[in-house]
């Protein structure tokens, strides 16, 4: 009963945030609404007992991704100006609808096909320690691959951002 109620609240929060992110005119407002969605998702993880995932969601998505998004908006000068006055559906809306319907289909298909446990309460409690051991044990290779990928991306970003004259010097 209680879980259902909390889930409902969080679901509404998440959906409203997502909807606002899609329809608001001001780009910064959209970004802020998006972070509301992130918070809703994180809280859902937490309510399911997945502490590590929930808190990482906040740390990564609120602390980094949302900030990245607003910085990107500010640095590309979209912050102050409102988008032109027209409905969201005005231009290219068909394409948008097709894309979202396609994504929706994929998600529903995945949900339906994946085997769910009979009841949500049966999920085993996973401690942080266990996650750590799993990452350092059986999954160490994927972890390292991801780490290398991220490092490469980081170095690439630095090189892209480097001023031209310094690049030539190197």
């Amino acid at each position: 009963m209680m879980e259902g109620f909390i889930f409902g609240l969080l679901a509404i929060l998440t959906l409203v945030g997502a909807l606002a992110a899609a329809v608001l005119r001001n780009l910064v407002h959209c970004a802020l609404s998006l972070s509301v969605t992130f918070v809703g998702l994180a809280l859902m993880y937490l309510s399911l007992g997945a502490q590590f995932v929930g808190l990482s969601q906040i740390l990564v998505y609120i602390g980094a991704v949302a900030i990245l998004v607003v910085f990107a908006i500010l640095l590309t000068r979209g912050a102050g100006a409102l988008t032109p006055h027209r409905l969201i559906a005005a231009a290219g809306w068909r394409l948008g609808w097709i894309a979202s319907v396609a994504v929706g289909f994929v998600l529903i298909f995945a949900l339906v096909r994946s085997p769910l446990p009979a009841s949500g309460d049966q999920a085993a409690k996973v401690t942080v320690l266990q996650i750590g051991q799993a990452l350092m044990g059986p999954y160490v290779l994927p972890l390292e691959v991801v780490a290398i990928l991220l490092t490469v991306a980081l170095i690439g970003a630095v090189i892209v951002a480097m001023p031209e004259d310094q690049k030539e010097m190197r």
Binding site: F52, S56, I58, L59, I62, G63, A64, L129
Partner: protein, 400 residues
């Protein structure tokens, strides 16, 4: 009342009070009591801190500080509160008023969340969860967003510049802050603050097993303190609100109670980060000497907290502030390598402990090797960085 009851006084109080309610409600009442405790105690300390800061700064500057309201000016925060509550709340006409309003609220809520997993005494933690330290960093990261909201919604160049600076600074220093904290997590083998405090609980002779007394612990603590200063925008890293350049940074356009909320948030953030520093490296609520354990644990925690706050005030009274690019250089070129090295040293400490055995000679050897590596790295890195920027003491010639 013996020392054990005194130690557990607040825990027992919570139990007895919640026992007055029906069993179904008891966990809720107990939780609400805990929340009320945090929401009451830390803002009270904040009020005390503001007056202590002003008086302490005053004393460092050969003056008295506030001395008009109440005896020795101790009631000054009440006067300040009344002032900020009765002041007109000005929102600039072009400001984005919803975001402008939400920014301080989000900030204070996020910072209060951080206190949920902070152990302020034996058994005195609101939420004893596995990933407590992670929660602290998660909510710490989300304050950045509220600072951005404040700066952006004010539609003021100084505000926006201040917010951009603040966010860039906080993101940069979050990395060394996390890496410095990870050392303690590694050694304790747990992300739970209570477990970390317990891991530092023992005594050798009269001295405690605080992490700060090991080479990696000391380095980690120093790095944590520096990163914490930057994370909370305290001097010498107070550029986001550097008044000589940016008037008041991201809260330039705030007045009245909203301004007070930012102020509250800033100090609460400072206290919470100090509390985590104490938990991670200074033995949390543990006594500093074995013969002092009769003093209640919470008293030790708050004593350490006040010492930490005094240290922050002391630094503020002494140091000028850095420049933005220097701040970034310092974070990425100095703090980050050192904290990564410290991570390796901590790992080495652990393995050396297993390899060398447990004799006194082995202990001393391990200690010396780890300390030497860190000190050497510190000196080399600092020298190189300063030399590259051509910063050195100078001598002057005279003409007659």
């Amino acid at each position: 009342m013996n020392s054990a009851t005194l130690d557990q006084f607040f825990v027992l109080l919570q139990h007895h009070l919640s026992a007055l309610f029906p069993t179904v409600l008891q966990p809720w009442v107990s939780m609400i009591l805990g929340v009320v405790g945090i929401v009451a105690v830390f803002p009270a300390i904040f009020a005390l801190t503001t007056v202590l800061e002003r008086k302490g700064l005053g004393r460092m500057q050969n003056r008295l500080g506030p001395n008009r309201v109440g005896p020795f000016g101790i009631l000054q925060p009440i006067a300040d509160a009344i002032k900020s509550l009765t002041k007109e709340d000005i929102v600039p006409r072009s400001a984005d008023d919803v975001v402008h309003f939400l920014a301080p609220v989000v900030l204070v809520v996020a910072i209060f969340l951080g206190y949920a997993v902070l152990p302020v005494g034996r058994n005195m933690v609101l939420l004893n969860i596995d990933a407590g330290i992670l929660l602290f960093f998660a909510v710490g990261a989300s304050t950045e967003l509220s600072i951005f909201m404040a700066g952006w919604s004010s539609r003021n160049k100084y505000s926006l510049l201040g917010a951009m600076r603040a966010v860039a600074q906080m993101i940069s220093y979050e990395v060394p802050l996390l890496l410095a904290a990870v050392v303690a997590v590694m050694m304790a083998g747990s992300l739970a603050p209570t477990a970390i405090v317990q891991a530092q609980g023992g005594f050798t002779g009269i001295f405690p097993h605080w992490y700060v007394f090991t080479p990696w612990g000391f380095a980690g603590f120093a790095l944590f303190v520096v990163a914490a200063l930057a994370e909370t925008n305290r001097s010498p890293f107070d550029l986001p609100e550097g008044e000589s350049e940016l008037v008041a940074g991201y809260f330039t356009e705030y007045s009245g109670f909203k301004f007070a909320l930012f102020f509250l948030g800033e100090y609460l953030g400072m206290m919470s980060i100090a509390g985590y520093g104490i938990t991670l490296f200074l033995g949390g609520w543990g006594a500093p000497f074995s013969f002092l354990t009769f003093i209640p644990s919470w008293a030790w925690f708050f004593a350490k907290l006040f010492l930490a706050i005094f240290f922050f005030i002391w630094l503020r009274g002494t140091l000028p502030r850095l420049r933005q690019d220097q701040l970034m250089n310092f974070a990425w070129k100095f703090m980050l390598p050192l904290s990564l090295l410290n991570l390796c040293v901590a790992a080495a400490w652990r393995f050396l402990g297993e390899c060398l055995g447990s004799g006194t000679v082995a202990e001393v050897m391990r200690w010396l090797v780890c300390a030497a590596v860190l000190v050497l790295a510190y000196i080399l890195l600092a020298r190189t960085l300063l030399r590259r920027q051509n910063i050195r003491p100078r001598s002057y010639r005279y003409a007659d």
